[in-house]
Symmetry: C2
Subunit: 149 residues, 2 copies
């Protein structure tokens, strides 16, 4: 029975808490990277600090759209509490996608992203209130598995 | 001035309309792939039909979690109107991510996905009502650009 299988062996995933706010008056989009929960579900290499990479895509050359938090040890939960802001018209923002990845720096110094969330900004509110939500983080290995099928 | 640049050269993106419904009584999750708008923003090879690949991830071996629509010519808007269903407990579903990609079959017969949306199911409602929304599609080239930075 499929159902009892799913119930008896619950899949677990890491989650990230983000706050999104658009201030119409200043035409500023602010992304708060707040917390990561259930880090044990991430495919983490040993003894590496993790950080969060935030990208607002597509990115025009004229605007900064790529941000990274400081690195922290992967305890549970991870507190990040960093805010990134960018200057963008609301109409332009509504055609963009927010991509958030949990990454480590590999032994060779390369950025290695392990899991991510992707958020369509088509419905982003211009109310000026920060909307905080938890998003599931999808391990990149799951994506590469379906790309090979 | 960054703002006038963004306003004078509006970025455009393709969008996909999806309906999501969870029926608690039957423990069934239904994904309706409805329409694609603004296909001209997709990096389409000439004279290929497009289709939509839908994956509910992570995928346990016991359940089917990967679906594909029929192929259609990339006119504007593309009408798809296909519904895929899977049997899953609500608690398990809320730890999953819905990944939706617009793909073509390349000349060599390989699946080539061009753009996608990713939707955290952490907040999926169990009301039994279908929730229809438009999601921005992010071209995969934009993701690979930041991975190289």
């Amino acid at each position: 029975d499929l159902l009892s299988y799913e119930e008896s062996v619950p899949l677990s995933c890491a989650q990230i808490s983000l706050g999104l706010k658009y201030e119409a008056k200043e035409q500023r989009f602010a992304i708060s990277v707040l917390q990561i929960a259930n880090c044990s579900a991430l495919p983490l290499p040993a003894e590496r600090n993790i950080y969060v990479r935030v990208a607002v895509l597509p990115c025009s050359e004229a605007t900064r759209c790529l941000f990274r938090t400081s690195g922290v040890a992967p305890q549970d939960p991870v507190q990040l509490n960093e805010v990134f802001g960018m200057h963008v018209a609301h109409n332009a923002l509504r055609q963009k996608t927010l991509r958030v990845d949990v990454c480590v720096t590999s032994a060779s110094g390369r950025e290695q992203c392990l899991a991510g969330a992707q958020i369509s900004l088509a419905d982003v509110s211009s109310s000026g209130e920060r909307q905080v939500r938890w998003y599931n983080l999808l391990n990149h290995t799951h994506m590469s598995n379906i790309d090979r099928k």
